[in-house]
Symmetry: C2
Subunit: 239 residues, 2 copies
DNA sequence: CGCAAGATTGAACGACATCAAACTCTGTGG
DNA sequence: CCACAGAGTTTGATGTCGTTCAATCTTGCG
């Protein structure tokens, strides 16, 4: 059971043993949050950041008419609120979509890392930059792609991100996300999410029953979703 | 003429004289890019980052049917591609919307800053985190607000961001952005942008003729756009 | 003065939303 | 092991917000 954050970072650059140790030691404690509970709330000023070890979580905002927008979906190895280290006040909430195992890293420890480990600091920074790249990609998909293309795009992304942290088995991943949650992610109604998924199934691109998502035709799915993985920075290079 | 980046950072935290000097010295050269020219292209692997000293710029992506999505609008004091320091490959282009004065900061210098100035590094990191927070806000607005609310939200944000770097005169700012560009930002058609702007004018919320944008009723504009400035991290605190 | 870029208008259309109901599945208690 | 409850999925009918297309109008500028 390697720490999934280390898996994720090692996909992008070399980590020294000392850096790995510093990361492992940064974890103050591990806690479990049940599905549908808040991990961090909008307006909070946390003095620690949460690293997702297992499960699925979402960053979200509620707007006035009660509608919800999910601005990020998180999988094992993702920091849920690393940005709260410097932004201080949470401008959105983070919700557990499933039971989540969460490692807690005090901001004081992060500050120490920035003082003593410049290269590791750059990799943590990189981590937040990838989050930003994903946001931009979602903006483009939301603004300029059809609902079907947007969904295909999201599925491609989630499949790859899960694969990187060893959560894929062949062409399949466990994706315990409801259609309502997908709707809040894509900015669509639940009803339309359902129709879009049916279309992708009918086209023979995916199978999606229960939590099990299988990619049946990766090339065509990528094409439908206009997906290119550049923004995920999957290349290993000096940073 | 203070460097607008320093203005921007000083809004968020104290900067020592040494840090200010390090920032000033980081600028290798200043260049001018004319309106409608690319500043950085998608796929580029720049070895320097561009700091916008004056003018307006946009990050954008083109999707298959030729449509364009703008994922960020930038004003004086903004780094246009600070993230290329660690992401290496540009996943989007950056375009000059007006004539732009741009300071160039070599990545080698940024690396040196991360080795020698931990606190300044955190502030540069913060800078990219604010970009990310803006992305999330835009996602929420795009997914769950009406076109009119979304436009009102964008106007509130741009007004505040310009004000921070001393580009506002009272309730007015110069905003040399066409309705087509606004459409690409909001994910709307030009026609609809026009109608939405008319509605905001008719409601007495803004005046917008030529480049001159005036906020006529800040409180009501904020309300229409469901705007709260938390995500811009305008508080000065230790980071 | 004349042109080109941008803004504005109107009419028809379409993608997705909304509403309301039925269906399926899984877990639970009797 | 059956009934039932509740969450999630699916379906159909209708409504609407924003798009598209095609002009026309305005404005800044050489």
């Amino acid at each position: 059971m390697t720490n999934p954050l280390i898996l994720k970072l090692e996909q992008r650059d070399q980590l020294s043993d000392e850096e790995k140790r510093a990361l492992e030691n940064a974890i103050a404690r591990v806690r479990v949050v049940e599905a549908d509970e808040d991990i961090v709330r909008e307006g909070d000023r946390p003095n620690e950041s949460s690293l997702l070890l297992d499960g699925f979580a979402a960053r979200y905002k509620i707007v006035s008419n009660g509608r919800r927008q999910i601005s990020a979906l998180h999988v094992a190895g993702d920091f849920l609120d690393l940005h709260s280290f410097l932004l201080k006040t949470m401008d959105h909430g983070v919700l557990a979509l499933t039971t989540c195992r969460i490692a807690t890293v005090p901001h004081a420890t992060l500050e120490k890392i920035t003082d003593e480990f410049p290269h590791l600091t750059r990799l943590l920074w990189l981590n937040t930059l990838i989050d930003g790249a994903i946001h931009r990609e979602w903006l483009t998909a939301m603004g300029r792609l059809s609902a079907t293309a947007h969904m295909a795009h999201l599925i491609c992304e989630l499949y790859l991100r899960l694969k990187v942290v060893g959560r894929a088995e062949g062409d399949s991943v466990q994706l315990p996300i409801t259609q309502a949650e997908l709707g809040d992610t894509l900015g669509l109604s639940t009803v339309h999410v359902n129709r879009v998924l049916q279309e992708l199934r009918k086209e023979g691109l995916i199978r999606f029953q229960g939590d099990a998502l299988t990619i049946l035709d990766w090339e065509r799915l990528k094409k439908v979703g206009e997906f290119t993985s550049t923004y995920l920075s999957l290349q290993n290079e000096d940073r």
